[in-house]
């Protein structure tokens, strides 16, 4: 009963934060709203017992991505330009997509349903065999690093590629001639 109340409050706060982020025009405040949104999402993950995911959401969503957004705002200015286009078509697209997604969830198993396909495939094997095969108490780590090592290697390659891409596009070298060419670059 208490957990339902906490969930309802958290979801209401999530919705309120999202609406505030859309309606605000000060991009600094919007970046802060995104940070709060990620923090609330991290709390939701803790309530869902997904501590590793909560950890990542709190570190990346609240910390790093907020700082990166602020760094970008420092480059582009903190005020949103007034919108010149009509927003009826985008609204229709969003409503249609949202309705399709909600329709899609009607087929999904209930949260925590032990008969759900995701709990029937390889998960029981990992959970029962991980202590004997890897000797690790944290099954998340043994799945990520050992059973699903290829996937994690692929994810690391994605992060590596992101870093290389940023280096190739922006670089780390200080520009030699600031001043009049500054805005052109």
């Amino acid at each position: 009963m208490l957990i339902e109340a906490v969930n309802i409050v958290l979801l209401a706060l999530l919705a309120a934060t999202a609406i505030a982020a859309v309606r605000l025009h000060d991009l600094f405040a919007v970046a802060m709203m995104f940070g709060i949104y990620s923090l609330l999402a991290a709390v939701m993950f803790v309530l869902l017992d997904a501590l590793d995911v909560a950890f990542t959401e709190a570190a990346v969503g609240v910390g790093i991505s907020t700082v990166l957004m602020l760094a970008t705002i420092g480059l582009v200015g903190r005020h949103e330009l007034p919108s010149t286009h009509r927003s009826l078509l985008p609204l229709a697209v969003v409503v249609a997509t949202g309705a399709a997604l909600i329709y899609g969830t009607l087929d999904m198993p209930f949260f925590g349903d032990p008969g759900a396909p995701v709990h029937q495939h390889v998960a029981p094997y990992y959970i029962s065999q991980s202590p004997h095969q890897t000797g690790l108490p944290n099954v998340v780590t043994s799945v990520l690093a050992s059973y699903r090592g290829y996937d994690t290697l692929g994810e690391l390659a994605v992060i590596f590629t992101a870093g290389v891409g940023v280096l190739a596009l922006l670089g780390l070298r200080r520009r030699k001639r600031p001043g009049k060419h500054r805005t052109a670059q």
Partner: protein, 139 residues
């Protein structure tokens, strides 16, 4: 560079704690929540806080771009290299059992090295992205 003394002193006090906590998350990930990715991000957050308070120029001299570029590749090479070693030992790619006589010890060693590789690349990439964005406003 921010001249607020409170911010500077607090940053100096908590940055070592952030880095120490990152190392804890890195090497305790086998037993509790966390692992290489989270540790890498937290480790990078310590450096990014340093860059925010003391300026990107100070951060650049603390971790030179050449070192960052090297570390980005070293982490991924560590991960991929473990797979090559297990293949040389006569097993499948990334089958850590081949790393030691005892399969459990092999798994432990493999996961430790692989998670360390993840942490190195993730933290180097995060600091790089921050420097690439925030450093563009440098005079």
């Amino acid at each position: 560079m921010i001249d607020n003394p409170v911010l500077r002193i607090i940053a100096k006090i908590i940055i070592p704690m952030i880095l120490l906590f990152a190392l804890y998350v890195q090497f305790h990930g086998d037993f509790g929540p966390g692992g290489g990715f989270q540790a890498g991000v937290i480790f990078a957050a310590g450096f990014i806080l340093y860059g925010l308070v003391f300026g990107t120029e100070s951060l650049r001299s603390a971790v030179p771009p050449a070192v960052l570029r090297l570390l980005i590749a070293v982490g991924l090479a560590l991960f991929a290299g473990v797979g090559v070693i297990t293949m040389l030992a006569g097993s499948d790619y990334l089958a850590y059992n081949a790393l030691s006589e005892d399969p459990i010890a092999g798994q432990h060693l493999g996961i430790l090295v692989v998670e360390f590789g993840v942490g190195v690349t993730v933290s180097a990439v995060m600091i790089t992205i921050f420097l690439a964005f925030a450093g563009r406003n440098d005079p």
